[in-house]
């Protein structure tokens, strides 16, 4: 009997906790709008812990990589010199191409590329649960951040701001299952929507069966979603599966390595729907 009592007591407690959480879930599902205050407060508090944790981890990593770097500095230096020489040659070619492009733009009376205003931010934490693909950055509403602002990195699109607090913000990565962005194939200008799959890859959906897509095609933002500026690189087509005349599945490999993100740029200016982006400038 005493054993039954203990089990019954913990059973009652179990039921009480379950009911309480079901009530919490129900309240959010029926009345949720905008940013929940509880989330913003929790993020604000925990981001300070993450800031300290991230600084400690970064310190250890930098000390370690500093040591490793020192060992391979000579070989790396030689390799970098070779890369620099190649890059200078490539730069000359790009300059010539840019001059030619500018001339063509003037000839066609195209609009000048709209420069986007950005704010740099450090990544101070990742998702608290592996089922969501988010990061926490060290800039919040105090730095001018608002929900739905685009977040980019030098290599491509990262995601969007979802919950900003005063000094930090939660960013939903493009690879999250609930993330999406308007996209187009740079080569053919075919439009579609890129969707996160949660496993590190992206899927290109809502494509016409008539368009031509091949592995290796560059996928850029189309700007039609009103979040991401037009022309930023999302990734490259990895695999194309056709089913008759329609596309069954188009897998996109993201341009950004989300596991190595340390610094990002938040786009502060809302994108103009018809603005020309960097991809347009390259063409």
């Amino acid at each position: 009997m005493p054993a039954l009592d203990v089990r019954r007591r913990s059973g009652y407690l179990f039921l009480a906790v379950l009911v309480a959480q079901v009530v919490i879930i129900s309240a959010q599902v029926s009345t949720r709008s905008g940013t929940p205050a509880l989330e913003a407060v929790a993020l604000g508090l925990f981001s300070e812990v993450q800031r300290v944790g991230s600084a400690a981890v970064r310190g250890v990593r930098e000390a370690w990589t500093g040591y490793v770097d020192l060992r391979g500095a000579r070989a790396e230096n030689d390799a970098l010199l070779r890369q620099l020489r190649d890059a200078r040659i490539a730069l000359q070619q790009e300059r010539a191409l840019a001059q030619r492009t500018r001339g063509l733009q003037q000839l066609l009376e195209l609009r000048e590329q709209v420069a986007v205003e950005t704010a740099a931010a450090n990544v101070i934490g990742a998702a608290a649960t592996p089922d969501f693909r988010t990061i926490t950055i060290d800039k919040g509403t105090g730095g001018g951040l608002r929900p739905d602002m685009a977040v980019i990195a030098p290599s491509g699109v990262v995601g969007r701001v979802v919950v900003p607090s005063a000094r930090a913000a939660k960013v939903q990565l493009l690879i999250d299952r609930n993330a999406a962005a308007g996209a187009l194939i740079e080569r053919t200008r075919a439009q579609g929507v890129v969707l996160g799959t949660g496993d590190g890859y992206l899927e290109l959906d809502y494509l016409s069966g008539m368009v031509d897509i091949v592995p290796g095609d560059t996928v850029v933002t189309s700007g039609i979603d009103g979040i991401f500026p037009k022309g930023f690189v999302i990734g490259w087509v990895d695999e194309v599966e056709r089913s008759g005349s329609t596309y069954k599945r188009v897998t996109v490999r993201p341009a950004v390595d989300f596991s190595r993100l340390e610094e990002v740029l938040v786009v502060l200016t809302p994108p103009a729907l018809d603005s020309a982006g960097p991809a347009e400038a390259r063409r």
Binding site: S10, V57, A128, T129, T136
Partner: protein, 171 residues
């Protein structure tokens, strides 16, 4: 003392999950360190500690995520309670048995967590079998190793025996 230990372990797991796990596991963090701690608490301290640790840890993760607050809490409460019952009814002392418990606990957590989101129509997880299986494997490995390491600490076996004895006396 035990309470502070559990709270400290959960807080440490949460901090590690959001900092170190991000850098260690390439691509996507496929380990849930918080779940590992909840299962450990359930197995070591019984159903009440397990369910309370699960509820607190799950709610903390929910508030720090972009999902609905309570679904993760619900999943971890059930996992903490179930593993607590399992630990109270059976002697789960062999590494193999612990591995299986951690593995099954991750599967149970995924079923409740993803099932909750799918049921409410808030998130489509597709067919996440591979992802869940790999996460269960990693959690089971991390959990089994952590369990073993904790038992190597001085006085750990005595504390464990005392906890078990206390639970038996309560019965």
């Amino acid at each position: 003392m035990r309470f502070l230990g559990i709270v400290g372990a959960l807080a440490l797991a949460l901090v590690l999950q959001t900092t170190v796990a991000h850098f260690v596991v390439r691509g996507t963090a496929a380990v849930d360190l918080v779940l590992v701690v909840v299962v450990y608490v359930g197995l070591s301290f019984g159903p009440t500690s397990g369910l309370l640790a699960g509820a607190a840890a799950g709610l903390a993760q929910d508030t720090l995520s972009i999902g609905i607050i309570g679904i993760g809490g619900l999943a971890k409460t059930v996992v903490g309670y179930a593993t607590g019952l399992l630990g109270a009814l059976f002697i789960v002392a062999k590494p193999g048995a612990r591995f299986v418990v951690f593995y099954l606990a991750t599967i149970l957590h995924a079923v409740i967590f993803m099932g909750g989101y799918e049921l409410l129509g808030l998130r489509d997880f597709g067919a996440p079998y591979g992802g869940v299986a790999s996460q269960a494997l990693v959690n089971a490995l991390v959990g089994s190793v952590a369990f073993h390491v904790i038992e190597l600490l001085p006085g750990a076996m005595e504390r464990r025996a005392a906890n078990r004895g206390m639970r038996m006396r309560r019965r």
